[in-house]
C-alpha cells in the first residue's frame, strides 16, 4: 500500500512506515530513548528529504515518548520532580541550541557538524555504557544474580548548595547538577535534532546516580517537552513537519513503545544498559564510516528546506 506524503512529496509504502515506527517505538519503550537518533537516519534511507525527516521524527518522538511515559507513570517509575528540574535546564538549552544551529547553518557546514556531534557523542556514551554495563553484568553474575552494591560516593554532586529531596529517586542532592545536565542535553538535542534520551539516560545514571528503573520514565517525561518544542519550531520556521508521515510512524511507534516498556521492565538493569550501549555503538560506527569512506557520489544536491 503506497501513500503519498504531502510535505515530503514522495510516495512510500505505508507498511514500511508502520514497521519503522514499531521498531523505534519498541526500543524507545525499552531504553527510555526517544529514538530520534535511529529514526532520522532510517528515514533518510527510505528517501525522505533530510529536513522533513528531522522535523517529523521530532513529532513522532512526542507520541512514542508519551505512550511510554503513561506506562511508566502507572508503575510509578517517573520522578516528576526531577523531570521538572531537568526540563527547566532543557528548555533553556534547546532555545540556545536552536540559535547556535541557525548560526552554523548560515556558515554552511551544519550537516558535517551534526554528523560529527553524533559520532563523538554516540561514541563516548556508547563506549562508557558498554564498559560499565559489561562490568556490572560480570559482577552480577559472580554475585549469583544479586544487584551490585550501591555506590556511596557522589563526589561534587553532593557538595553543592540548593539541595532538594527527590523521593522517587531516593536522592538528596543540589538542583544545580540536574539543571546543568538538562541544559547540556537540551543544547545538544536542538543541534542534533533529536530528543536527547541517549545522552540523558547515561547522564542520569552516571552523573546524578539515579536508579536505572526511574531514569527511563523520567527521561521520557523530559523528552516529550523538548521534542514538542522542536516540532513546533520546525513547523513554524521551515514547514517541514509531515503530518501524514508522522501519523504512520507514530501508530507503529506507540504500539511498539507499549511492548518495549513491558520488555524493559522484565529485563535486568545491566542487560538494558548493555543492549543500549551496543545499539548506540552500531549507529555511531555506521555514521563514522560514512565520514571516513570515500562516498560513491562526491556531489550532492542541497535540500532547499534546511539541513
Amino acid at each position: 500500500m503506497q501513500i503519498y506524503l504531502p510535505i515530503a512529496e514522495v510516495s512510500v509504502n505505508a507498511i514500511l512506515l508502520l514497521g519503522l515506527g514499531g521498531i523505534v517505538g519498541l526500543l524507545s519503550g525499552m531504553f527510555g530513548v526517544g529514538g530520534g537518533f535511529l529514526i532520522t537516519p532510517l528515514l533518510f534511507f527510505i528517501g525522505i528529504p533530510p529536513a522533513v525527516a528531522v522535523a517529523t521524527s521530532a513529532n513522532q518522538i512526542v507520541a512514542s515518548s508519551f505512550s511510554g511515559l503513561l506506562a511508566h507513570l502507572k508503575r510509578k517509575t517517573v520522578d516528576l520532580k526531577m523531570g521538572l528540574v531537568l526540563l527547566v535546564g532543557g528548555l533553556i538549552g534547546a532555545g540556545l541550541g536552536v540559535i547556535v544551529f541557525n548560526y552554523l547553518r548560515a556558515l554552511g557546514q551544519v550537516d558535517l557538524l551534526v554528523r560529527l556531534c553524533y559520532v563523538v557523542f554516540l561514541g563516548i556514551v556508547g563506549a562508557l555504557m558498554f564498559v560499565e554495563g559489561l562490568r556490572a553484568w560480570q559482577r552480577a553474575r559472580r554475585a549469583g544474580g544479586t544487584p551490585p552494591a550501591k555506590r556511596k560516593y557522589r563526589g561534587w554532586v553532593t557538595a553543592l548548595p540548593l539541595k532538594m529531596r527527590f523521593r522517587t529517586s531516593g536522592l538528596y542532592i543540589s538542583v544545580i547538577p540536574p539543571v546543568l545536565v538538562g541544559f547540556a542535553v537540551g543544547l545538544l538535542a536542538a543541534i542534533m535534532g533529536v530528543g536527547g534520551g541517549f545522552i540523558m539516560v547515561p547522564a542520569m545514571i552516571y552523573i546524578l546516580h539515579m536508579p536505572t528503573k526511574v531514569v527511563i520514565g523520567t527521561s521520557l517525561f523530559q523528552i516529550i517537552f523538548v521534542a514538542a518544542f522542536t516540532t513546533l519550531l520546525h513547523a513554524i520556521t521551515n514547514h517541514t513537519v509531515d503530518m501524514a508521515l508522522a501519523l504512520f510512524l507514530l501508530v507503529g511507534g506507540v504500539i511498539g513503545a507499549q511492548f518495549g516498556t513491558r520488555i524493559g521492565l522484565k529485563m535486568k538493569a545491566e542487560q538494558v544498559r548493555l543492549l543500549l550501549a551496543l545499539l548506540v555503538l552500531v549507529v555511531c560506527g555506521k555514521l563514522a564510516l560514512e565520514l571516513l569512506l570515500r562516498p560513491s557520489e562526491l556531489y550532492s544536491i542541497a535540500d532547499p528546506g534546511g539541513l
Partner: protein, 253 residues
Amino acid sequence: MRRLLAGLAFLVLPLMAEAQPSVVEEDVVLGLSHSRVRITTNFDGSEILIFGAIRREAPMPESELDVIIAVAGPSNPVVVRKKARHWGIWINTESAEIRSAPSLYAVASSAPLSEILSEQTDTIYRITAPRAVWTLGSEKEFAEAVLRIRQNQGLYTLKESSVEVTEQTLFRTSVSMPANLTEGAYRTRVFLLRDQQVVSDFETVIDVHKVGLERYLFNLSREHSLAYGILALVIAIAAGWGASAAFRMLSRA
C-alpha cells in the same frame, strides 16, 4: 539513393514554397491520456499516454520523419555541493548554484538521438536534459553532477526509439511520471524533425497538483503553520494516550 532524394527535394521544394508561402507544412495535433495529474493520498506515479497526428497541407516530403517528445517539470535553482577529503574525513568543500534545473525531465524519441538531432538544433530548442540545466561555463562539473544524480533517481530519463510513428502521420508514446512528483506545470513539447532539423513544434502543459487531504495539509502547513504544528502535537499526544489506554484494556481483559 540519398543523392537522388536530395536532388528530388531540390527540385520539389521551391515549387511547394511557391504554392504555400506562409503555411507551415506539417502541424502537430496532440492528444494526452490526461492533461492533469492529481496527487491523491494513494498516488503511486502515473503513466501518461501522449499521442498525436501530423496534419499536412502539402504532399508528404520524401525524407524520414522523426518525433521527439520532452516533458519538463518546474525549474528551480539548486545548490550543488562537492565533497573532498580533509583531515581524514569527507566534508563538503566547494559548492555552486545552478541557475535553473527542472525537477523532472523525460525525453522520448522515435530513433536514437544521435541520428535524428543535430548539436545545433539541440542548442536552439534546448531539447535534451543537458540543455535544460542552465549553467555558466565554470559550473560545468556541478551541472553534470545534477544530471547524474537526477538520472540515478529516475527523474531525468531518455528513452530513445520509444515513440512509435505510423505511416509518418500518427505517433504515440507513454511517459511515466514517478511517485516522487512535485507540484507544478509540466511543460510538454513535441518536435517534428526531418534531416536533423525541426520542421514543426508544439507545446502544451500537464498540470500536476495535490487534491483533497494532501492539498489541505499542504496549505495548512504553509498558511497556518502554528496551528499545523499544534495539531501535529495534539495528534501525537492523542495517539500516545490512545495506544496506552488500549493496552491497559487489553491487559485487564
